[in-house]
Each structure stands twice: as structure tokens, then as C-alpha cells.
Symmetry: C2
């Protein structure tokens, strides 16, 4: 699937590049859960809740890293992510959609995975002309593809472009605190001046090594103006009673 970089790129604005950088370095919001929990769990008091905005990014296989960046190439960790062992790499890629619309500098996250995957907000997907379905990470069968262009070559992904569904990482003690199990759904409430939002359908990803963190994308973070939020809280979805 390797093709040669042929220089057929499009011009882009400085603004678009700055936007990418700004989104990539955006600070995540950390806050204490308030008194919305009915009773304390097995831990001492409420766990510290963090909500992070995932800007668009790419996961790669070892093979695709070599095709895009050169034989024997390994990703260079630049910034550790909150979940231990994961990192934003120094490397970025151009993503090209159908009709040659593109995003010039999309961050690669590490470590490498068994399947390459591109995670976009719907706003990004519209700008690329890709109808990205809402999927959980790894569930890419039948999704659209795209072309990835790196400094040493290009890769045509046959599938793997998704809008990542919102989810929450936590360890088993935190899951017990909330009364949820891996695979269940929660609701994240964000109180923000004139634009509060309750996000349903946050999938629980419980793992012994995970740290409590909700992942939403840039559209979701901007819809609730997360940077200006005054309160965040998390509940089992069935306890939320939105329009109940």
C-alpha cells in the first residue's frame, strides 16, 4: 500500500496550523466532583475528576510508521498523556480525504497499535469530506479510509477514520465508587455560563492501570465551552434522569 510522496499537496493557512497546535496543547480541566454522588465509595471521598479534550490525531502500526517516516523509524515521545504509557509523538502527518481535501499537520499518538486509526471531530471530518461514523476506538470495520502522507511516503488506509465516541477511563476502585462496570454508560454534566451540557453515552473503560479521565473531542469541548466550565460531574447514565 506504500505510495510515493508526489508533492501534490494543497496550500493551507497559517491559521489552520496554529489552530492545530492550540488544540493539541489545550489544557484539560481537572475538578473535584461536588456533592452529586449519593454516598462515598470505598475510596476516601470522591475521586478527582478530569475531563480532557482529544484533538484530532492518528494511531499507527509499526509497519505504517516505517512506511511514512522511513525504514527502522520509531516514534519520538514528545509529551506524556495523562494515561500512563501513552504519549503525543513529535511526528505529525497530513491526512488527505476524497477529492484531495486535507488537514496538513495531524499529531501521531503513541505507542503503536495493531491497527492504524484516525480520530476526527465531526467538524474536522466535514472539512475533509469524510462521513466519519461515531465509533469506539478499535471498532473500525467498515469505516471510511483516507490517505496518510508523511515525510518518507504515504499510506492508503482502507478503513479506520472515525469520530471517537466519548468515554471515561477509570480503575476498578473508581468504577466501584460510581457503581459502574466496564462497558456501561455514564453521563458527564458540564456547567458552563450560558451553555451547560449533559453528555450521555460516556462508555466506561475500566482497567487496573487506568486513571480517572473523561475523553471528549473538540466539538464536544467547544459545545460546552469547557475552558470556562465552573463545575463538572459524572453519574451512572440511569441515575441522570435527563428528561426523565
Amino acid at each position: 500500500m506504500r505510495t510515493t510522496l508526489n508533492g501534490a499537496t494543497q496550500m493551507t493557512t497559517r491559521g489552520e496550523i496554529e489552530k492545530l497546535v492550540r488544540l493539541a496543547i489545550r489544557q484539560s480541566l481537572t475538578s473535584r466532583i461536588g456533592d452529586s454522588q449519593p454516598e462515598p465509595g470505598p475510596s476516601h471521598g470522591a475521586p478527582s475528576l478530569r475531563v480532557s479534550i482529544s484533538a484530532r490525531h492518528v494511531h499507527l502500526t509499526d509497519q505504517h510508521v516505517e512506511q511514512l517516516f522511513g525504514p527502522g523509524y520509531k516514534l519520538t515521545p514528545d509529551k506524556p498523556l495523562y494515561q500512563d504509557g501513552f504519549f503525543a509523538a513529535k511526528e505529525t502527518l497530513m491526512i488527505v480525504g476524497p477529492r484531495r481535501r486535507m488537514l496538513p499537520e495531524v499529531r501521531v499518538l503513541g505507542p503503536t497499535r495493531p491497527h492504524s486509526q484516525v480520530e476526527l471531530a465531526i467538524t474536522d471530518a466535514i472539512s475533509l469530506g469524510i462521513d466519519a461514523p461515531v465509533r469506539h476506538s478499535g471498532d473500525i470495520a467498515g469505516t471510511p479510509g483516507c490517505v496518510l502522507v508523511g515525510p518518507a511516503g504515504a499510506v492508503e488506509l482502507k478503513e479506520g477514520v472515525i469520530r471517537a465516541a466519548r468515554h471515561v477511563h477509570m480503575n476498578f476502585e473508581e468504577a466501584a465508587y460510581y457503581g459502574v462496570k466496564n462497558g456501561e454508560l455514564m453521563t458527564l454534566k458540564v456547567v458552563s455560563p450560558q451553555c451547560s451540557v449533559a453528555f450521555n453515552d460516556c462508555l466506561v473503560r475500566a482497567d487496573a492501570k487506568a486513571k480517572l479521565e473523561v475523553h471528549i473531542d473538540t466539538d464536544e469541548g467547544n459545545a460546552c465551552n469547557l475552558d470556562a466550565a465552573t463545575e463538572i460531574s459524572l453519574k451512572r447514565q440511569e441515575d441522570c434522569r435527563c428528561h426523565g
Copy 2:
């Protein structure tokens, strides 16, 4: 405040322009309210609920229309909006932010108003480098400005760039049905596969001539993947009991 068009524009991508057009022509979702209303109001059954996505756009004064498009110029209605008397004009403008980052083709809406105003999603505002506050239309005191560039000239707005707060238009009969008054808040619930959202803080704008329609922006529409929504409903905010 009139300045001369000096050609100091930046290159942009075809994709960015196509994105603007795509957002501008996006279809709004119309649906019947389900059985979430406790009892029928004075009208025969539930009113038909419409949720529309407002892509970024500009409102202009008569004076600014002339400065941007030429002496004596009047806006040309292109497409009527759902609210009677309002329209998308054929005219578009370039919006330039600080550090000369820009959006090349932003639609003008008519008719003209007493004050010019630019309504952006936060994603748009980030791309321009403008920290746009969440405000209701017309409430622009102390907001950031920008430069508008048209075919006949440019206008430097000293203020008027906002992220429009979500709101719902309705007539007084519809307000009575929902048990709300002008200026009160409602919650819009959008059920969408893997990304349902409850939007609080929808301001009621009741007017004798209004038609029932919720206005959200592109970030909000994309956060809930409105195009894929299977159910929409509206309630008084105090009846919503989100995280109750």
C-alpha cells in the same frame, strides 16, 4: 472606520470554502415531539419541533453594507430562513482576526440591523484567534472586534464577535404549551447513536410572529451528530432534572 481593501489576504484551501458551503446548506432536523410532554397544551397536540444549526454568519448595518459592497448597495436575498422575514443573502465577507488569520467566505444574513455582529462557533473563533464570549444576539458590549472585508471596502468592528448562545424561537401559544415565558430557559435533548446530549440553557425567545425552532451552532450540532439523531425533545429546564 472604512479602510481600503489592500489585497493583503492569505491563501486558503478549497476544502475550507467547500466546508463553508456545506455548513451553510446543511439541512435542519424537523421532528415531532414524542411523549415527553406531560399533557397536551392549548394547541391540538404537541407542536412540531425543529432544531436548526446556525453556521457562522454576519449581521450588518445599512451603513456597513454600503462600505463593504458599494454606495447604495442592498443585500440580495438568496434563501429564506425558517423564521419569516429573515434570509441568507447572496453576499459573503472575509473575516480577519488578530494576527491576520481569516475565514474567507462567511455568509451575511438579512435584513440589516442597528448593529453589526459576527456569530462564530468556538471552533471558528479558535481558528481566527479570537476569544469569542458566549452571548445572546444583540448583547455585544465589550466583546472582541474583527475586520470585515468585502468587494468594495473593509470595516473594522470594534466589538460584535460572539459565540451565539443557544436559544429557541416560539410563539406565545407554543410558550404556553411548554409552560415557559420569554427569557426563561429550556433543555433540548438530542438522542443520537453513541452521542446523545442534553443542551441546557436554551433561552426562550417568545414572539407573536415566531415559529418554533431551536438554534444551535455547528459545534453543538456536531457534538450530538444532529444529522443522525433519532429523537429530539424540549422541556422547561427545571423539569429536566439532569443530574437531578
